[in-house]
């Protein structure tokens, strides 16, 4: 088992190293001059040149790449050019919004989708199954930003039970911060609920047809035990894979939801940094996203091992 996981870990490190090269290359070819963005249309050529020298934009590319990697390895991410604040603090503050948002959306999705999927598989072909499938069809089709706007109109504008957006900050107002994440998490999770429900349903339909399930029923096990202990346990393997993939999508999908709900999250930071050509922030955030996705994949691997002993043996 350790051998299996350590190979996975090594693969993740190689992926990460390659990702830094790709990220650097992509960020450097972005059209636009950061100094011009900062100083605007009235800037003089001499002031632009002075600013470029100040930020090291005039250095050769390999030097800038090594400088950046050196900083990453010593946990010194440098200062944002646009905001003037340390990149690490900037990203840390934003993660404090985006990670809880993603976690809330994901747990909401799992908690709703798995029982719904089991129900649909168990009641296969009945009105209940059709109802669940209809709901998932809507969930997949509705864009999450539109659903977000509808939620704001209902809960913030019409009934005024939730704020229309914004984020008070964990230190200043912990309760208000949780409240501020409820609607965005709901909006973010809708399509994920739909996808996970479908995956759970089809995985359950497969396992329910297995011989061992028939055996379990034949020996007189209660339906609850058959469903949740025998069938669901095996069905959870594809469900876990998809949930892991979804976690990555949640971080990416948060960009739009954060804009609808005015949440100062990582998605908004990336969006603003691209518009400001704040290259140092873009590079580091994208690498951080890469690390997050790799970490989630590793966690999924660990979950596999716990759920199913076969990878352990195969390794």
């Amino acid at each position: 088992m350790l051998d299996f996981l350590s190979r996975r870990f090594a693969a993740a490190l190689v992926t990460l190293a390659l990702a830094t090269v790709v990220v650097f290359a992509v960020v450097e070819v972005l059209p636009g001059d950061p100094a011009l963005v900062m100083l605007g249309t009235e800037a003089r050529p001499d002031t632009l040149a002075a600013l470029r020298a100040q930020y090291g934009f005039d250095q050769p590319l390999p030097v800038r790449y090594l400088h950046w990697i050196g900083g990453l390895l010593s946990f010194d991410l440098g200062n944002s050019h646009a905001y003037g604040t340390p990149v690490a603090k900037l990203i840390g503050d934003r993660l404090a919004v985006t990670l809880p948002l993603g976690a809330l959306a994901l747990s909401w999705a799992v908690l709703v989708a798995v029982p719904l999927g089991v129900l649909a598989a168990w009641k296969h072909g009945t009105a209940g199954d059709w109802g669940v499938m209809g709901f998932t069809q809507i969930g997949i089709s509705v864009p999450n930003f539109w659903f977000g706007i509808v939620l704001v109109l209902l809960f913030a504008v019409t009934w005024q039970v939730f704020p229309s957006g914004g984020f008070p900050g964990w230190r200043q107002d912990p309760r208000g911060s949780v409240v501020a994440l409820v609607l965005p998490a709901l909006a973010l999770s809708l399509s994920e609920i739909a996808i996970l429900t479908r995956v759970t349903r089809s995985a359950m339909l497969d396992t329910l047809r297995e011989d061992y399930v028939r055996t379990a029923r034949a020996k007189g096990a209660p339906e609850r035990v058959v469903l949740f202990r025998h069938a669901l346990r095996n069905a959870l393997i594809p469900v876990t894979t998809v949930a892991g993939l979804i976690a990555g999508f949640l971080i990416a999908g948060a960009v739009i939801i954060e804009s609808v709900f005015r949440l100062p999250g990582v998605g908004q930071l990336v969006y603003d940094s691209i518009n400001n050509r704040d290259l140092v922030v873009i590079k580091n955030v994208v690498v951080l996203f890469t690390i997050l996705v790799l970490a989630v994949n590793l966690l999924v691997d660990v979950a596999y091992v716990l759920l199913d002993p076969r990878p352990r043996v195969a390794a």
């Binding site: 972005l30 059209p31 636009g32 001059d33 950061p34 011009l36 963005v37 900062m38 100083l39 605007g40 249309t41 009235e42 800037a43 003089r44 002031t47 002075a50 600013l51 100040q54 646009a82 905001y83 003037g84 604040t85 900037l90 503050d93 934003r94 709901f135 706007i149 704001v152 109109l153 209902l154 809960f155 913030a156 504008v157 019409t158 005024q160 039970v161 939730f162 704020p163 229309s164 957006g165 914004g166 984020f167 900050g169 208000g176 409240v179 409820v182 709901l186 804009s259 609808v260 709900f261 005015r262 100062p264 999250g265 908004q268 930071l269 603003d272 691209i274 518009n275 400001n276 050509r277």
Partner: protein, 498 residues
């Protein structure tokens, strides 16, 4: 929202609503607290470090003050200098400083501080974005603690205006290095805290010389970029005002709400179809005249939901030196076609239109493409991000056509510049502009400015479309907000709740 039966929504919502209901937050609005919505977030908060208009919209007059001040009508009035005299040759400006002025950190204002602040605007190693406005200054001298003398190399009739801008904010040498993150000025409000990506909070400054006249205790600038989120923030009561509301198509919704006043005023933004005069076929006057005849301004303003005033030159209609030149090349498709044929393009030609990511340009882009299509110019639209637009269009001048608002006041001087992105080069205009700058008599200057407008209108340098409107939305109980936008500012010193 009210027109749809509420039950439908409750039913739909109940399907999802398994979470506990939270009570309404304490929105109770104290009568000395104001939440101002902003469409764009300022990167830093120091106008000497970044050109973003959002910096000026937050700090001008509220945090930072300049020697002179641009008031709500656009007039230049006394600021940190209570009076000034100008020598007859227009070269020496002597400013008398206001007594008792203190910075938010307790430091006093005197002539040496002013000298420091103005010197760094034009110093050789200065990286101030607006440096070019101040390079006519030869020296700044602290005559005595309350008197500052500015000497120019050549007369500049715009010096006072430039000195009144937020770019010439008087900063103290002690706080200047950290003003980007923690601005310290002499204004009525002092910086309290910033949550990047969310809000900037100011509180009334106890050090302000006239603190008794300031009615607001706390001001929160909240960043709301998405137009529909701006509307919901207003409707939900999370924001009291958007002084510069960016989505004209959503204004009707707000007008219906009795809680809000929608006030339409003027800005200094001329929206133009900027044209590369240095590139074939746009270097041909006949082609540019043909394009001018193809432009239907009424239709363009319709696309802005009716907001905007037609212009025929590069000048704001509310300026007293304005002359109406919208009739120079009236909308006439047949005439446009004929001129294009005369220029040697009976079948038209293909052109690219590079659009920056701003609402007005997006809305006008499609309309203009179709208008130019009617005289045979096949326009292909390309969308650019701001940084791309700045590099590709503005700096490298690699474009045919673009749509942009020139938002600085008095910016007709751009037509006299060498190497500006329009590639317009007119000895006649340059000579006229030199006269404008050197004019010490303002009545004469206004006449010269009218000539300037006529020259560029006649040369059809760019397509002159309309003056952007300022759409202000605020709660009806709020008084003292600026109707017009003579300079980027949200001056809250005269704002209070009824």
């Amino acid at each position: 929202m009210q027109s749809i039966p509420r039950r439908t929504f409750i039913g739909a919502a109940a399907a999802f609503a398994v979470f506990p209901a939270f009570g309404p937050e304490a929105w109770a609005q104290a009568k000395n607290r104001l939440v101002v919505g902003m469409s764009l977030e300022p990167p830093v908060l120091d106008p000497n470090k970044n050109a973003a208009a959002a910096i000026r919209e937050i700090t001008y007059q509220n945090i930072f003050e300049s020697l002179a001040r641009i008031d709500r009508t656009g007039a230049i009035v006394s600021g940190l200098a209570e009076s000034w005299t100008i020598s007859p040759d227009g070269l020496v400006y002597t400013f008398k400083l206001r007594p008792g002025v203190k910075f938010h950190d307790g430091e006093a204002l005197d002539a040496s501080v002013v000298k420091f602040a103005i010197d760094r605007l034009f110093a050789a190693d200065s990286t101030v974005p607006a440096k070019s406005l101040y390079t006519d200054i030869a020296s700044v001298e602290a005559v005595d603690p309350a008197t500052v003398k500015i000497t120019l190399k050549t007369p500049n009739s715009y010096l006072l205006y430039n000195i009144a801008l937020c770019d010439a904010a008087i900063q103290h040498p002690k706080s200047a290095p950290t003003n980007d993150k923690h601005p310290v000025g002499t204004g009525a409000f002092q910086f309290k805290e910033r949550k990047e990506g969310d809000s900037i909070t100011l509180v009334k400054a106890p050090t302000f010389r006239d603190a008794g006249s300031i009615k607001l205790e706390t001001v929160i600038f909240k960043v709301v970029k998405d137009p529909s989120a701006q509307v919901s923030a207003l409707l939900a009561g999370d924001v009291d005002t958007f002084p510069g509301f960016q989505a004209p198509e959503l204004v009707e919704r707000l007008k219906k709400d009795a809680r809000f006043a929608v006030v339409v005023g003027t800005t200094e933004g001329e929206v133009i179809l900027a044209t590369n005069n240095g590139k074939k076929p746009f270097n041909d006057l006949k082609v540019r005249q043909a394009m001018a005849h193809a432009i239907n301004r009424a239709e363009l303003i319709d696309a802005e939901s009716g907001f905007g005033t037609p212009i025929g030159s590069h000048f704001a209609p509310h300026n007293k030196a304005y002359v109406d030149l919208t009739g120079t090349y009236p909308f006439d498709v047949a005439k446009g076609k004929a001129l294009l044929a005369e220029a040697g393009y009976p079948n038209g030609f293909e052109a690219s239109l590079k659009l920056p990511p701003v609402g007005y340009a997006q809305r006008a882009g499609e309309v203009l493409a179709s208008q130019l299509g009617k005289i045979g110019i096949k326009v292909a639209i390309t969308q650019l991000q701001w940084p791309q637009w700045l590099s590709e269009v503005f700096k490298e001048r690699n474009y045919d056509l673009t749509i942009v608002a020139h938002t600085e006041a008095n910016d007709i001087d751009r037509y006299a510049r060498d190497g500006y992105y329009w590639n317009y080069d007119s000895p006649e205009f340059k000579a006229k502009w030199r006269e404008v700058v050197a004019a010490t008599d303002f009545a004469k200057r206004d006449e010269l400015l009218k000539d300037c407008q006529r020259i560029i209108a006649r040369d059809a340098v760019n397509g002159y479309l309309y003056q952007l409107a300022k759409i202000g939305v605020w709660k009806k109980e709020l008084v003292g907000m600026w109707e017009n936008s003579p300079t980027p500012a949200t001056d809250l010193t005269g704002v209070s709740w009824k």
